[in-house]
C-alpha cells in the first residue's frame, strides 16, 4: 500500500466524529482523532454541531425531584469544605492523630486482630439482648458505586472497635486492593487495606470521631494516601454527642 493519502485519513476520522461527540470512542482512537482535529478545520466545524446535539440530549430526560435532604447536604458539604480551607494551617495537627498514625503503620489489616474481634463479636452477640444493648451499634454499609456490594458496620462502643463485614464487592484488577476510609467531615483517613471481596475485619477507632466509613478500590499493596476513586460502599455514622 502506498503512503497514506490525506483524504483517506480525513474520511476515516470524519466517520468517527459522531462517536467522538458522544464520548463513545476508546481512548486510543480518541487521542488519534484529537490530533487530526488540531489540523483539520472541516472536522472541527462539523464536530461543533455534533457536540451541540450531544449536549442537548441531557435536556431530553424527565425532570425528577431528589430527596428533600439533598439540598441541605450540599449546603453543609460546601460550608465544611470552606471551613476546612480557611484555617487549614491551624488544623494540621488533629488531636486524634496518634491512633490514625498507628493504623497507617500497619496498613494491611491484621488477621489476629480480626480473629480476636470475631470471637469478641460472637460473645457480644450472645449477650447483646441482656447487657450490651447500649454498647453495640449496627449500621448497614450502603452500596454506592457497586450496586450489588453490601455489608455491615458493627461498633463495639466500649472497646472502640469497628467490625466491618462486606459481601459481593466488585472484583479487583491485579495489583489493586480494597481500602477502608474513616471520614472526618470530608477528609478521609485510611484505616487499612484488604483484598478479599467477602470478609470480616476490624478497625480500632472511635466512630464518634467520624461521619462515615467508606471502602474504595485503590492501587496495592499499600493503598493510597487519599482515595482516588468513588466509594463502592459507604456507611453514614450516626453522631451521638455526649454518648460516653
Amino acid at each position: 500500500m502506498p503512503a497514506t493519502v490525506p483524504d483517506q485519513d480525513h474520511a476515516h476520522y470524519q466517520e468517527l466524529l459522531g462517536a467522538y461527540a458522544l464520548g463513545a470512542l476508546p481512548d486510543a482512537e480518541r487521542a488519534a482523532l484529537d490530533q487530526h482535529l488540531a489540523s483539520c478545520a472541516a472536522c472541527r466545524q462539523e464536530l461543533r454541531s455534533l457536540l451541540a446535539a450531544a449536549r442537548a440530549l441531557a435536556l431530553s430526560v424527565d425532570e425528577r425531584a431528589p430527596s428533600s435532604s439533598l439540598r441541605e447536604r450540599i449546603r453543609s458539604a460546601a460550608l465544611e469544605e470552606r471551613e476546612r480551607a480557611a484555617p487549614a494551617a491551624e488544623r494540621e495537627s488533629p488531636p486524634r492523630a496518634s491512633r490514625i498514625v498507628a493504623l497507617h503503620e500497619r496498613r494491611q489489616l491484621i488477621p489476629w486482630l480480626a480473629a480476636a474481634v470475631l470471637l469478641l463479636f460472637s460473645v457480644a452477640m450472645l449477650v447483646w439482648n441482656l447487657q450490651l444493648r447500649q454498647e453495640i451499634e449496627s449500621i448497614a454499609l450502603q452500596p454506592a458505586a457497586a450496586p450489588q456490594a453490601h455489608g455491615q458496620v458493627i461498633y463495639l462502643r466500649n472497646w472502640n472497635i469497628v467490625l466491618i463485614t462486606v459481601e459481593d464487592l466488585p472484583p479487583l484488577q491485579p495489583g489493586q486492593v480494597y481500602q477502608v476510609w474513616l471520614i472526618e467531615g470530608n477528609r478521609p483517613l485510611s484505616a487499612g487495606v484488604f483484598d478479599q471481596p467477602d470478609g470480616r475485619f476490624a478497625v480500632a477507632a472511635d466512630i464518634a470521631d467520624y461521619s462515615a466509613i467508606a471502602i474504595t478500590i485503590e492501587q496495592g499493596p499499600l493503598g493510597n494516601p487519599a482515595p482516588t476513586s468513588e466509594p463502592i460502599v459507604i456507611a453514614e455514622l450516626p453522631h451521638q454527642p455526649g454518648a460516653s
Partner: protein, 194 residues
C-alpha cells in the same frame, strides 16, 4: 425568585458563597437528578452523583471558563460523565471537570453551541429525538445514556462497526438540524400554530 442569572451565581460560587450554590441547586436539581437517575436507575447513587457534581462546581467555579459552555451545560456534562463512570465501574475517570471536552480549546467560537442550547425546551429535544430514524436514535441513546463505545454498540446490536459510526454521526447531524429548525420556528413567533 432568585434574581441572579447563572453567570452571576457562578461568580458568587467562585467567591465561596454557599447560598449561591444552593440557588444553582434549586434551579437545576430536578434536571441534574433526572439525568443521573435516567442513567443509573438508582436514586441513592444518582443523588451521590448530583452532590458530587455540585461540589465539583463549588471547587472549580473560579477556574471555569464560561466560553466553554454555560453553567447548565457544565453541570449536566459533569453529571452525565460521573453517572456513566459509576454505571460502568470506571471509578475516578472524570477527574477533569473544568474542561468540558479535551478538544474545546481547539474549537473557535464554542459559544455557538450554547446559543443553540440556550432556551431550547425539553419538549423540543424529545420531539427531535422522536423524529430521528429509530436505528439512529437507539445507537445515540446507547452511547449517551449507557456509555457504550462504538464497538460495544456494534456487539449489542449485532451490526457492523462502520454502520454504528455512521448512525451516530448521521443521527447527531440530523438531531442538530432538527433542533436548529425548532429553535428558528419558536423564535419566529407564536403565530405558527402547528
Amino acid at each position: 425568585m432568585e434574581g441572579r442569572d447563572d453567570r452571576e451565581l457562578l461568580q458568587a460560587i467562585a467567591r465561596q458563597d454557599a447560598d449561591a450554590l444552593v440557588a444553582l441547586f434549586d434551579r437545576y436539581n430536578r434536571l441534574a437528578f433526572g439525568l443521573a437517575y435516567r442513567i443509573l436507575g438508582d436514586a441513592f447513587v444518582a443523588e451521590e452523583v448530583v452532590q458530587d457534581a455540585f461540589m465539583s462546581i463549588w471547587r472549580n467555579a473560579a477556574s471555569y471558563d464560561l466560553s466553554r459552555g454555560t453553567v447548565r451545560t457544565w453541570l449536566l456534562t459533569i453529571v452525565r460523565n460521573r453517572a456513566i463512570d459509576q454505571l460502568r465501574g470506571r471509578f475516578g475517570r472524570s477527574q477533569n471537570d473544568v474542561d468540558l471536552d479535551t478538544v474545546a480549546p481547539l474549537l473557535a467560537a464554542p459559544d455557538e453551541w450554547d446559543d443553540l442550547l440556550s432556551e431550547i425546551q425539553a419538549s423540543a429535544v424529545r420531539a427531535a429525538l422522536r423524529a430521528l430514524p429509530e436505528e439512529q436514535r437507539i445507537a445515540i441513546e446507547l452511547a449517551y445514556f449507557e456509555g457504550l463505545t462504538h464497538v460495544e454498540i456494534a456487539e449489542r446490536l449485532g451490526i457492523p462497526l462502520g454502520t454504528v459510526k455512521s448512525r451516530l454521526r448521521l443521527g447527531l447531524q440530523k438531531l442538530h438540524d432538527l433542533l436548529v429548525t425548532s429553535k428558528v420556528r419558536s423564535e419566529s413567533g407564536a403565530s405558527d400554530g402547528t
